[in-house]
Symmetry: C2
Subunit: 237 residues, 2 copies
Protein backbone atom coordinates (compact mmCIF):
# COMPACT_ATOMS: atom_id res chain seq x y z
CA UNK A 1 0.00 0.00 0.00
CA UNK A 2 1.27 3.46 -0.83
CA UNK A 3 0.06 7.05 -0.68
CA UNK A 4 -2.43 7.85 -3.45
CA UNK A 5 -1.06 8.86 -6.83
CA UNK A 6 -2.96 9.56 -10.02
CA UNK A 7 -1.32 6.74 -11.97
CA UNK A 8 -2.24 3.99 -9.50
CA UNK A 9 -5.01 1.57 -10.52
CA UNK A 10 -6.51 1.84 -7.06
CA UNK A 11 -7.77 4.60 -4.81
CA UNK A 12 -9.01 4.97 -1.25
CA UNK A 13 -12.00 6.06 0.78
CA UNK A 14 -11.09 7.67 4.09
CA UNK A 15 -13.60 7.42 6.94
CA UNK A 16 -16.56 5.20 7.65
CA UNK A 17 -19.25 7.12 5.74
CA UNK A 18 -17.64 7.17 2.27
CA UNK A 19 -16.35 3.63 2.81
CA UNK A 20 -19.90 2.43 3.42
CA UNK A 21 -21.08 4.21 0.26
CA UNK A 22 -18.32 2.43 -1.66
CA UNK A 23 -19.27 -0.95 -0.20
CA UNK A 24 -22.97 -0.52 -0.98
CA UNK A 25 -22.71 0.91 -4.49
CA UNK A 26 -19.48 -0.48 -5.94
CA UNK A 27 -19.16 -3.75 -4.05
CA UNK A 28 -17.34 -5.64 -6.79
CA UNK A 29 -14.61 -3.00 -7.06
CA UNK A 30 -13.65 -3.17 -3.37
CA UNK A 31 -10.30 -4.87 -2.83
CA UNK A 32 -10.28 -4.68 0.95
CA UNK A 33 -11.12 -2.59 3.98
CA UNK A 34 -8.49 -1.47 6.48
CA UNK A 35 -9.53 -0.89 10.09
CA UNK A 36 -7.25 0.81 12.62
CA UNK A 37 -6.32 -1.51 15.49
CA UNK A 38 -7.30 1.14 18.04
CA UNK A 39 -10.80 1.70 16.64
CA UNK A 40 -13.70 1.08 19.03
CA UNK A 41 -16.22 -1.29 17.48
CA UNK A 42 -19.41 0.80 17.57
CA UNK A 43 -22.72 -0.29 16.06
CA UNK A 44 -21.87 1.43 12.74
CA UNK A 45 -18.49 -0.27 12.54
CA UNK A 46 -20.03 -3.65 13.35
CA UNK A 47 -22.51 -3.12 10.53
CA UNK A 48 -19.65 -2.38 8.15
CA UNK A 49 -17.73 -5.48 9.30
CA UNK A 50 -20.84 -7.65 8.85
CA UNK A 51 -21.39 -6.25 5.36
CA UNK A 52 -17.81 -7.13 4.42
CA UNK A 53 -18.19 -10.67 5.75
CA UNK A 54 -21.46 -11.22 3.88
CA UNK A 55 -19.84 -10.05 0.66
CA UNK A 56 -16.51 -11.85 1.12
CA UNK A 57 -14.58 -8.60 1.35
CA UNK A 58 -11.23 -8.86 3.09
CA UNK A 59 -10.81 -6.83 6.32
CA UNK A 60 -7.31 -6.07 7.57
CA UNK A 61 -6.75 -4.73 11.08
CA UNK A 62 -3.63 -2.60 10.89
CA UNK A 63 -2.18 0.70 12.04
CA UNK A 64 1.01 1.43 10.12
CA UNK A 65 -0.52 0.82 6.70
CA UNK A 66 -3.35 3.22 7.45
CA UNK A 67 -1.03 5.89 8.78
CA UNK A 68 1.08 5.57 5.63
CA UNK A 69 -1.76 6.34 3.21
CA UNK A 70 -4.22 8.66 4.98
CA UNK A 71 -4.26 12.45 4.75
CA UNK A 72 -5.74 13.06 8.21
CA UNK A 73 -4.37 11.40 11.29
CA UNK A 74 -7.78 10.70 12.72
CA UNK A 75 -8.86 8.37 9.89
CA UNK A 76 -9.64 4.92 11.29
CA UNK A 77 -11.34 3.19 8.34
CA UNK A 78 -10.04 3.00 4.77
CA UNK A 79 -11.63 1.35 1.74
CA UNK A 80 -9.27 0.19 -1.02
CA UNK A 81 -10.92 -0.02 -4.43
CA UNK A 82 -10.06 -0.53 -8.10
CA UNK A 83 -10.82 2.47 -10.27
CA UNK A 84 -13.81 1.87 -12.53
CA UNK A 85 -15.27 3.25 -15.74
CA UNK A 86 -18.86 4.32 -16.08
CA UNK A 87 -21.03 5.57 -18.91
CA UNK A 88 -23.72 8.21 -18.74
CA UNK A 89 -27.25 7.27 -19.81
CA UNK A 90 -28.46 8.92 -23.00
CA UNK A 91 -31.72 10.94 -23.07
CA UNK A 92 -31.46 11.63 -19.35
CA UNK A 93 -30.74 14.87 -17.52
CA UNK A 94 -27.01 15.58 -17.44
CA UNK A 95 -24.55 17.94 -15.80
CA UNK A 96 -21.62 18.71 -18.10
CA UNK A 97 -18.46 20.03 -16.46
CA UNK A 98 -15.95 21.53 -18.87
CA UNK A 99 -12.40 21.33 -17.45
CA UNK A 100 -13.14 21.36 -13.70
CA UNK A 101 -9.91 21.89 -11.76
CA UNK A 102 -10.78 22.03 -8.05
CA UNK A 103 -11.08 18.73 -6.21
CA UNK A 104 -13.08 19.96 -3.24
CA UNK A 105 -15.50 21.79 -5.51
CA UNK A 106 -15.97 18.70 -7.69
CA UNK A 107 -16.77 16.59 -4.64
CA UNK A 108 -19.38 19.10 -3.47
CA UNK A 109 -20.87 19.20 -6.98
CA UNK A 110 -21.21 15.40 -7.09
CA UNK A 111 -22.90 15.32 -3.68
CA UNK A 112 -25.28 18.11 -4.74
CA UNK A 113 -26.12 16.36 -8.02
CA UNK A 114 -27.08 13.24 -6.09
CA UNK A 115 -29.13 15.43 -3.77
CA UNK A 116 -31.20 16.59 -6.74
CA UNK A 117 -31.52 13.13 -8.31
CA UNK A 118 -29.19 13.82 -11.22
CA UNK A 119 -27.25 10.61 -11.87
CA UNK A 120 -25.32 11.39 -15.03
CA UNK A 121 -22.26 13.63 -15.06
CA UNK A 122 -20.17 14.26 -18.16
CA UNK A 123 -16.69 15.69 -17.58
CA UNK A 124 -14.69 17.22 -20.41
CA UNK A 125 -10.92 16.76 -20.22
CA UNK A 126 -8.48 18.17 -19.20
CA UNK A 127 -9.87 17.90 -15.69
CA UNK A 128 -9.02 17.08 -12.14
CA UNK A 129 -8.42 13.40 -11.19
CA UNK A 130 -11.90 12.26 -10.20
CA UNK A 131 -10.58 9.34 -8.13
CA UNK A 132 -8.33 11.45 -5.94
CA UNK A 133 -9.30 10.71 -2.29
CA UNK A 134 -9.95 14.45 -1.81
CA UNK A 135 -12.74 14.29 -4.42
CA UNK A 136 -14.11 11.09 -2.88
CA UNK A 137 -14.09 12.65 0.58
CA UNK A 138 -15.69 15.95 -0.49
CA UNK A 139 -18.37 14.00 -2.39
CA UNK A 140 -19.07 12.02 0.80
CA UNK A 141 -19.06 8.92 -1.38
CA UNK A 142 -21.59 10.30 -3.92
CA UNK A 143 -19.01 9.35 -6.57
CA UNK A 144 -20.05 5.72 -6.10
CA UNK A 145 -23.74 6.21 -6.94
CA UNK A 146 -23.28 8.35 -10.05
CA UNK A 147 -22.43 7.65 -13.67
CA UNK A 148 -19.42 9.82 -14.41
CA UNK A 149 -18.02 9.69 -17.93
CA UNK A 150 -14.95 11.53 -19.22
CA UNK A 151 -14.87 12.95 -22.76
CA UNK A 152 -11.87 14.22 -24.72
CA UNK A 153 -13.77 17.27 -25.94
CA UNK A 154 -17.16 18.94 -25.69
CA UNK A 155 -17.75 18.03 -29.37
CA UNK A 156 -17.39 14.37 -28.52
CA UNK A 157 -20.03 14.75 -25.80
CA UNK A 158 -22.28 16.83 -28.03
CA UNK A 159 -22.25 14.36 -30.96
CA UNK A 160 -23.56 11.60 -28.72
CA UNK A 161 -26.12 13.74 -26.89
CA UNK A 162 -27.35 16.31 -29.40
CA UNK A 163 -30.95 15.40 -28.55
CA UNK A 164 -30.61 16.87 -25.09
CA UNK A 165 -31.65 20.48 -24.46
CA UNK A 166 -28.37 22.31 -23.92
CA UNK A 167 -28.13 25.10 -21.29
CA UNK A 168 -24.62 26.60 -21.05
CA UNK A 169 -24.18 28.77 -17.94
CA UNK A 170 -22.03 31.82 -18.66
CA UNK A 171 -21.61 35.44 -17.62
CA UNK A 172 -22.11 36.66 -21.20
CA UNK A 173 -25.57 35.10 -21.50
CA UNK A 174 -28.56 37.45 -21.59
CA UNK A 175 -31.30 35.14 -20.29
CA UNK A 176 -31.35 34.88 -16.48
CA UNK A 177 -32.04 31.70 -14.53
CA UNK A 178 -34.46 33.75 -12.43
CA UNK A 179 -36.62 34.60 -15.48
CA UNK A 180 -36.35 31.35 -17.44
CA UNK A 181 -39.84 29.90 -17.82
CA UNK A 182 -39.44 26.98 -20.17
CA UNK A 183 -37.09 24.33 -18.83
CA UNK A 184 -37.06 21.47 -21.30
CA UNK A 185 -36.12 17.92 -20.46
CA UNK A 186 -33.90 16.00 -20.89
CA UNK A 187 -31.49 18.83 -20.12
CA UNK A 188 -27.74 19.25 -20.19
CA UNK A 189 -26.61 21.94 -17.76
CA UNK A 190 -23.15 22.98 -18.93
CA UNK A 191 -20.58 24.73 -16.71
CA UNK A 192 -17.03 25.91 -17.40
CA UNK A 193 -13.84 25.90 -15.38
CA UNK A 194 -13.83 27.62 -11.93
CA UNK A 195 -11.56 30.41 -13.10
CA UNK A 196 -12.21 30.88 -16.80
CA UNK A 197 -15.83 29.78 -17.32
CA UNK A 198 -17.08 28.72 -20.76
CA UNK A 199 -15.65 30.34 -23.88
CA UNK A 200 -17.79 32.40 -26.28
CA UNK A 201 -18.43 29.46 -28.63
CA UNK A 202 -20.98 28.19 -26.10
CA UNK A 203 -23.18 31.24 -26.79
CA UNK A 204 -24.20 29.38 -29.99
CA UNK A 205 -25.23 26.20 -28.22
CA UNK A 206 -28.79 25.78 -26.93
CA UNK A 207 -30.05 28.46 -24.52
CA UNK A 208 -27.25 30.16 -22.61
CA UNK A 209 -28.09 31.34 -19.10
CA UNK A 210 -26.68 33.70 -16.49
CA UNK A 211 -27.52 33.52 -12.80
CA UNK A 212 -28.24 37.11 -11.88
CA UNK A 213 -26.14 38.32 -8.95
CA UNK A 214 -25.01 41.65 -7.51
CA UNK A 215 -22.16 43.64 -9.02
CA UNK A 216 -20.25 43.33 -5.76
CA UNK A 217 -18.80 39.98 -6.80
CA UNK A 218 -17.23 38.81 -10.08
CA UNK A 219 -19.11 35.53 -10.17
CA UNK A 220 -20.68 32.93 -7.94
CA UNK A 221 -18.65 29.89 -6.88
CA UNK A 222 -18.99 26.97 -9.34
CA UNK A 223 -20.58 24.52 -6.90
CA UNK A 224 -23.03 27.22 -5.78
CA UNK A 225 -24.00 28.02 -9.39
CA UNK A 226 -24.63 24.36 -10.17
CA UNK A 227 -26.75 23.96 -7.05
CA UNK A 228 -28.91 26.96 -8.03
CA UNK A 229 -29.35 25.61 -11.56
CA UNK A 230 -30.27 22.14 -10.30
CA UNK A 231 -32.70 23.58 -7.76
CA UNK A 232 -34.50 25.59 -10.43
CA UNK A 233 -34.49 22.88 -13.11
CA UNK A 234 -35.74 20.14 -10.78
CA UNK A 235 -38.24 22.24 -8.84
CA UNK A 236 -41.29 20.98 -10.67
CA UNK A 237 -40.16 17.51 -11.65
CA UNK B 1 5.45 39.84 11.67
CA UNK B 2 4.48 36.30 12.57
CA UNK B 3 2.24 33.51 11.24
CA UNK B 4 -1.43 34.17 11.93
CA UNK B 5 -2.82 33.14 15.30
CA UNK B 6 -6.29 33.72 16.65
CA UNK B 7 -5.15 35.86 19.57
CA UNK B 8 -3.26 38.39 17.43
CA UNK B 9 -4.85 41.83 16.98
CA UNK B 10 -3.98 41.74 13.29
CA UNK B 11 -4.70 39.45 10.38
CA UNK B 12 -3.65 39.14 6.75
CA UNK B 13 -5.04 39.08 3.23
CA UNK B 14 -3.11 36.82 0.87
CA UNK B 15 -3.13 37.68 -2.82
CA UNK B 16 -3.92 40.79 -4.81
CA UNK B 17 -7.69 40.38 -5.11
CA UNK B 18 -8.60 40.16 -1.39
CA UNK B 19 -5.95 42.77 -0.59
CA UNK B 20 -7.62 45.19 -2.97
CA UNK B 21 -11.01 44.49 -1.37
CA UNK B 22 -9.45 45.24 2.02
CA UNK B 23 -7.92 48.50 0.78
CA UNK B 24 -11.16 49.70 -0.80
CA UNK B 25 -13.59 48.79 1.96
CA UNK B 26 -11.59 48.92 5.19
CA UNK B 27 -8.96 51.52 4.32
CA UNK B 28 -8.50 52.85 7.83
CA UNK B 29 -7.79 49.40 9.27
CA UNK B 30 -4.89 48.68 6.89
CA UNK B 31 -1.52 48.79 8.64
CA UNK B 32 0.62 48.12 5.58
CA UNK B 33 0.94 46.14 2.37
CA UNK B 34 3.81 43.72 1.73
CA UNK B 35 4.93 43.15 -1.85
CA UNK B 36 7.33 40.35 -2.80
CA UNK B 37 10.59 41.68 -4.24
CA UNK B 38 10.30 39.34 -7.23
CA UNK B 39 6.80 40.45 -8.21
CA UNK B 40 6.38 41.87 -11.71
CA UNK B 41 4.65 45.24 -11.60
CA UNK B 42 1.59 44.62 -13.78
CA UNK B 43 -1.19 47.14 -14.36
CA UNK B 44 -3.20 45.69 -11.45
CA UNK B 45 -0.24 45.90 -9.09
CA UNK B 46 0.49 49.46 -10.15
CA UNK B 47 -3.14 50.36 -9.40
CA UNK B 48 -2.77 48.83 -5.94
CA UNK B 49 0.50 50.73 -5.34
CA UNK B 50 -1.10 53.99 -6.47
CA UNK B 51 -4.07 53.41 -4.18
CA UNK B 52 -1.73 52.91 -1.22
CA UNK B 53 0.21 56.09 -2.02
CA UNK B 54 -2.97 58.14 -2.33
CA UNK B 55 -4.16 56.86 1.03
CA UNK B 56 -0.81 57.09 2.84
CA UNK B 57 -0.63 53.34 3.32
CA UNK B 58 2.87 51.97 3.89
CA UNK B 59 4.21 49.54 1.27
CA UNK B 60 7.12 47.26 2.17
CA UNK B 61 9.02 45.37 -0.50
CA UNK B 62 10.27 42.20 1.14
CA UNK B 63 10.63 38.47 0.62
CA UNK B 64 11.50 36.77 3.91
CA UNK B 65 8.67 38.40 5.86
CA UNK B 66 6.13 37.27 3.28
CA UNK B 67 7.46 33.73 3.18
CA UNK B 68 7.25 33.59 6.98
CA UNK B 69 3.54 34.36 7.17
CA UNK B 70 1.88 33.02 3.99
CA UNK B 71 0.18 29.64 3.62
CA UNK B 72 0.88 29.22 -0.10
CA UNK B 73 4.34 29.77 -1.54
CA UNK B 74 3.03 31.58 -4.57
CA UNK B 75 1.56 34.52 -2.59
CA UNK B 76 3.23 37.76 -3.68
CA UNK B 77 0.99 40.40 -2.06
CA UNK B 78 -0.08 40.53 1.59
CA UNK B 79 -2.30 43.07 3.34
CA UNK B 80 -1.78 43.54 7.07
CA UNK B 81 -4.84 44.87 8.89
CA UNK B 82 -6.15 45.47 12.40
CA UNK B 83 -9.14 43.36 13.30
CA UNK B 84 -12.33 45.40 13.45
CA UNK B 85 -15.79 45.16 14.98
CA UNK B 86 -18.93 45.70 13.02
CA UNK B 87 -22.62 45.85 13.87
CA UNK B 88 -25.51 44.54 11.80
CA UNK B 89 -28.24 46.96 10.74
CA UNK B 90 -31.62 46.38 12.36
CA UNK B 91 -34.77 45.90 10.26
CA UNK B 92 -32.71 44.67 7.32
CA UNK B 93 -32.44 41.18 5.83
CA UNK B 94 -30.03 39.01 7.83
CA UNK B 95 -28.31 35.68 7.62
CA UNK B 96 -27.87 34.10 11.05
CA UNK B 97 -25.20 31.41 11.37
CA UNK B 98 -25.44 29.36 14.56
CA UNK B 99 -22.03 27.91 15.50
CA UNK B 100 -20.40 27.68 12.06
CA UNK B 101 -17.19 25.62 12.28
CA UNK B 102 -15.72 25.34 8.78
CA UNK B 103 -13.52 28.20 7.60
CA UNK B 104 -13.72 27.50 3.88
CA UNK B 105 -17.48 27.13 4.07
CA UNK B 106 -17.84 30.41 5.97
CA UNK B 107 -15.78 32.23 3.34
CA UNK B 108 -17.96 30.85 0.54
CA UNK B 109 -21.09 31.84 2.48
CA UNK B 110 -19.87 35.43 2.90
CA UNK B 111 -19.06 35.72 -0.80
CA UNK B 112 -22.47 34.30 -1.72
CA UNK B 113 -24.27 36.67 0.67
CA UNK B 114 -22.56 39.61 -1.01
CA UNK B 115 -23.54 38.15 -4.37
CA UNK B 116 -27.20 38.34 -3.33
CA UNK B 117 -26.95 41.82 -1.77
CA UNK B 118 -27.27 40.64 1.81
CA UNK B 119 -24.97 42.85 3.89
CA UNK B 120 -25.76 41.80 7.45
CA UNK B 121 -24.51 38.54 8.94
CA UNK B 122 -25.08 37.53 12.56
CA UNK B 123 -22.87 34.76 13.90
CA UNK B 124 -23.70 32.96 17.13
CA UNK B 125 -20.73 31.81 19.22
CA UNK B 126 -18.99 29.41 19.61
CA UNK B 127 -17.83 29.74 16.05
CA UNK B 128 -14.83 29.66 13.79
CA UNK B 129 -12.39 32.61 13.88
CA UNK B 130 -13.82 34.93 11.22
CA UNK B 131 -10.50 36.75 10.74
CA UNK B 132 -8.50 33.63 9.99
CA UNK B 133 -6.77 34.21 6.60
CA UNK B 134 -8.46 31.03 5.32
CA UNK B 135 -11.88 32.64 5.82
CA UNK B 136 -10.67 35.88 4.24
CA UNK B 137 -9.27 34.00 1.24
CA UNK B 138 -12.36 31.81 0.72
CA UNK B 139 -14.57 34.91 0.96
CA UNK B 140 -12.39 36.54 -1.72
CA UNK B 141 -12.43 39.63 0.46
CA UNK B 142 -16.24 39.75 0.83
CA UNK B 143 -15.57 39.93 4.59
CA UNK B 144 -14.57 43.56 4.13
CA UNK B 145 -17.86 44.75 2.59
CA UNK B 146 -20.21 43.03 5.05
CA UNK B 147 -21.42 43.82 8.55
CA UNK B 148 -20.60 40.74 10.59
CA UNK B 149 -21.58 40.77 14.25
CA UNK B 150 -20.89 38.05 16.81
CA UNK B 151 -23.48 37.20 19.49
CA UNK B 152 -23.00 35.12 22.62
CA UNK B 153 -26.27 33.28 22.10
CA UNK B 154 -29.21 33.11 19.71
CA UNK B 155 -31.40 34.66 22.43
CA UNK B 156 -29.17 37.72 22.47
CA UNK B 157 -29.61 38.08 18.70
CA UNK B 158 -33.35 37.41 18.90
CA UNK B 159 -34.00 40.01 21.61
CA UNK B 160 -32.54 42.75 19.45
CA UNK B 161 -34.14 41.63 16.20
CA UNK B 162 -37.51 40.11 17.13
CA UNK B 163 -39.21 42.28 14.50
CA UNK B 164 -37.55 40.34 11.71
CA UNK B 165 -39.38 37.41 10.12
CA UNK B 166 -37.49 34.35 11.30
CA UNK B 167 -36.92 31.38 8.98
CA UNK B 168 -34.89 28.59 10.60
CA UNK B 169 -33.65 26.02 8.05
CA UNK B 170 -33.77 22.50 9.45
CA UNK B 171 -34.33 18.91 8.36
CA UNK B 172 -37.27 18.48 10.77
CA UNK B 173 -39.25 21.34 9.22
CA UNK B 174 -42.36 20.44 7.23
CA UNK B 175 -42.62 23.45 4.91
CA UNK B 176 -40.35 23.19 1.87
CA UNK B 177 -38.42 26.08 0.34
CA UNK B 178 -39.76 24.93 -3.02
CA UNK B 179 -43.37 25.43 -1.94
CA UNK B 180 -43.01 28.54 0.22
CA UNK B 181 -45.10 31.32 -1.29
CA UNK B 182 -45.02 34.10 1.24
CA UNK B 183 -41.51 35.37 1.88
CA UNK B 184 -41.75 38.27 4.29
CA UNK B 185 -39.17 41.01 4.66
CA UNK B 186 -37.09 41.89 6.54
CA UNK B 187 -36.09 38.25 6.94
CA UNK B 188 -33.62 36.37 9.12
CA UNK B 189 -32.51 33.15 7.44
CA UNK B 190 -31.16 30.97 10.24
CA UNK B 191 -28.76 28.04 9.71
CA UNK B 192 -27.11 25.63 12.15
CA UNK B 193 -23.69 24.08 12.37
CA UNK B 194 -22.38 22.06 9.37
CA UNK B 195 -22.58 18.77 11.24
CA UNK B 196 -25.37 19.10 13.75
CA UNK B 197 -27.79 21.66 12.24
CA UNK B 198 -30.25 23.57 14.43
CA UNK B 199 -31.69 21.95 17.55
CA UNK B 200 -35.42 21.28 17.95
CA UNK B 201 -36.04 24.52 19.87
CA UNK B 202 -35.87 26.36 16.54
CA UNK B 203 -39.06 24.58 15.40
CA UNK B 204 -40.89 27.09 17.63
CA UNK B 205 -39.31 30.16 16.06
CA UNK B 206 -40.93 31.80 13.03
CA UNK B 207 -41.51 29.55 9.98
CA UNK B 208 -39.08 26.63 9.83
CA UNK B 209 -38.14 25.44 6.35
CA UNK B 210 -36.56 22.38 4.75
CA UNK B 211 -34.96 22.38 1.33
CA UNK B 212 -36.38 19.29 -0.32
CA UNK B 213 -33.67 16.95 -1.61
CA UNK B 214 -33.40 13.28 -2.57
CA UNK B 215 -33.06 10.54 0.02
CA UNK B 216 -29.68 9.61 -1.45
CA UNK B 217 -27.90 12.19 0.69
CA UNK B 218 -28.22 13.07 4.38
CA UNK B 219 -28.27 16.81 3.82
CA UNK B 220 -27.05 19.49 1.48
CA UNK B 221 -23.77 21.26 2.21
CA UNK B 222 -24.27 24.38 4.39
CA UNK B 223 -22.98 26.91 1.85
CA UNK B 224 -25.16 25.30 -0.84
CA UNK B 225 -28.25 25.46 1.41
CA UNK B 226 -27.69 29.13 2.15
CA UNK B 227 -27.21 29.93 -1.53
CA UNK B 228 -30.51 28.22 -2.40
CA UNK B 229 -32.33 30.09 0.36
CA UNK B 230 -30.85 33.44 -0.70
CA UNK B 231 -31.68 32.76 -4.34
CA UNK B 232 -35.30 32.03 -3.51
CA UNK B 233 -35.75 34.86 -0.99
CA UNK B 234 -34.19 37.53 -3.21
CA UNK B 235 -35.68 36.37 -6.52
CA UNK B 236 -38.40 38.98 -6.64
CA UNK B 237 -36.76 41.79 -4.73
Amino acid sequence: MEKYKKDLDISYTFGIFPTFELLKHKTKYVQKVLIHEKLNITKDIQELIDFCKQNNILIEYCTKQIEKIVDKESTMVVGVFSKFDSIIEKNQNHIVLVNPSDMGNLGTILRTALGFNISNIAIIKPCVDIFNPKVVRASMGALFSLNIQLFDSFDEYYKENANNNMYPFMLKASKTLQSLQDKKQPFSLIFGNEGSGLDDSFLNIGQSIIIKHSHNIDSLNLAISIALALYEFTKNI
